[in-house]
Amino acid sequence: MNENLKKFNINSLRELGIFLAFVFILVVLMALSPNAFAKPANLINILKQASINGILATGMMFVIISGGIDLSVGSIVALSGVVAASFAHPGEFPLYVPLILAVGVGAIVGLINGAGVAYGGLPPFIITLGTMTIVRGVALIAANGQPVFNVTKEFEATAGGFVFNNIPNLVIYYVVITLILAFVLTRTVFGRRVYAVGGNEIAAKVSGINVEKIKLAVYSLSGFLAGIAGFLLASRIISGNPTSGQAYELDAIAAVVIGGVSMSGGSGKWYGTVIGALMIAIISNGLDILNVSSHFQLIIKGLIIIVAVLVDIKGKGKQ
């Protein structure tokens, strides 16, 4: 009991560290730019800009907790976006057609990734690197290298609309997806098994968990969410752009890692990933508003990732 209590304290301290860093950055940016950054309209803008990466990061979190990685999500965003926009021209199909197709495309690529990892025995890095490249190629072919434009008003409003006049739809989607998947991760047998597989695969197998099935499911989930993200991005930029979504996988991984999820799998909290996604959006937004050159922004983002993981490793050492 006593030991459990101690463990809890150290764990919560570690999480507190991420939270403190988040508040620190927020306060610094608010102090530097009280008239622009700290305005409610901008804070809503930040939430909106965090949403698409946040959705990708949620899927990435499941994959990373299971001990894997998914590099294909950025390319899936591009392909799903192209597919969505291609079926969203005025007077052709109802809105659910592009939605189902975009999400379906994402889920299929996720399924291929999962099958490659679970049944093909391929390292996650390799199979998803392969599909990342293939899917980008398919997106370019499907769109003939050009943005697909001319979409319906309803399609544009999916991501571009507002709830209660000022809360962007994107934020609502992100919150709903996060809450559902937080429940799945923490309150269901499936969620516990994802942790078990990432923590110790052999032990998980011995205890009767169908490791292959769990892996297939997490990659499919990640692809499914990337399909949603692709649909939403296409709606946001009112076009399906085959070159969009480049390096989104890296931002998603960064959000997960900043949020304290261990790259070796088996541990991590959903709210850490939320903080990670918000942190990335806040830094970009704050530095853009302060007119910091994009070259320096890269350095600052990189440093934050390294420091976050360093804190994570040190925290584990103490444990």
Partner: protein, 313 residues
């Protein structure tokens, strides 16, 4: 486990084969009688397709035989295509190079073997290696774009620049063009200047952030249309369309549609068709022993609401 792997590999290969079978044959087999060769860096976007179509049409018009090679964006592949053309004894090569440096040795070898080479659109790092260059000057494009914006602003106001990937040829040239124009307009101030890497999604987020900063922006001038389209969406979302004008460059189909709808203030065409036609003409002139200029520049075309009808297909 092993069996599963074999099955997986087999399925994968079948998929790959089906995919490759679906792809149309991009390269035409070189005919023995061919006299002219066109080397495209790739044939996967509207720009390269318009370019190769223009060269082909001109070749047909002049009644010469032309083979078309697709370099697949691979400088090594394109270099070997140039070498094959040389050994096959073509009379002249038109090349849209896949790399500014990588094709120099192959082009040099061709001209040394007495086969003239006309480089089109993308200038190589050693221009004297080729017989002639046909293209546009990025600086001129930037000048035309910025001049249009400056005149629309009445010579006064705040502008923001969306730049291509820092250090790329087009980004440097076009931005230099902007700055040259601004020397004549001391009352125009550059309030933001950031890269969005040619991308619509990046430009959208960046301009959203700029608009939150409270700094007044009167015009956004983008290095390409992709970024201009992102800026346009941010401006429309913020309901500032009547206050902020957006300018692009490239004349992509979506940008042309936006110009037609009165959303995008202007875009600039690289006159791709004219470049291709001029390159083919130059090649034929070289074979006929005529003297040609080492650098032939094709004019950019400004596209606004007034003349956009001529460019919409």
């Amino acid at each position: 486990m092993k069996k599963r792997l074999t099955v997986f590999v087999a399925v994968f290969m079948v998929l790959a084969l089906t995919l490759s079978a679906c792809q149309p044959a991009a390269t035409e087999a070189p005919a023995a009688a061919a006299k002219y060769a066109l080397m495209m860096s790739h044939m996967t976007n509207a720009f390269t397709i318009e370019m190769s179509d223009a060269v082909k049409a001109k070749a047909a018009e002049l009644g010469v035989d032309l083979t078309v090679n697709d370099g697949g964006q691979d400088p090594a592949k394109q270099a070997s295509q140039v070498e094959s053309a040389v050994t096959q004894g073509v009379s002249c090569i038109v090349i849209e190079p896949a790399s500014v440096d990588g094709l120099v040795p192959a082009i040099e070898a061709a001209t040394k073997a007495g086969i003239p080479v006309v480089v089109v659109n993308q200038k190589i790092s050693k221009p004297e290696a080729a017989s002639s260059f046909v293209g546009v000057s990025n600086v001129e494009g930037g000048i035309l774009e910025m001049k249009t914006a400056a005149e629309d602003l009445g010579g006064k106001g705040n502008v923001a620049f969306l730049l291509g990937p820092m250090g790329s040829d087009a980004q440097i040239g076009r931005t230099d063009g902007y700055k040259e124009v601004l020397k004549e307009y001391p009352d125009i101030k550059v309030v933001f200047e950031q890269t969005a890497n040619w991308k619509t999604d990046e430009a959208l987020a960046l301009v959203e952030n700029w608009l939150q900063s409270g700094t007044q922006i009167d015009a956004i001038v983008a290095n390409n249309d992709g970024m201009a389209m992102g800026a346009l969406k941010a401006v429309e979302d913020a309901k500032l369309s009547d206050k902020i004008k957006v300018y692009g460059l490239d004349a992509t189909p979506d940008a042309l549609a936006a110009v037609k709808d009165g959303k995008l203030a202007a875009t600039i065409s690289q006159s791709t068709t004219a470049q291709g036609q001029k390159a083919m003409e130059t090649c034929v002139a070289l074979v006929n022993g005529e003297k040609v200029d080492p650098e032939i520049l094709v004019e950019f075309t400004l596209i606004t609401k007034d003349n956009v009808g001529d460019y919409l297909k």
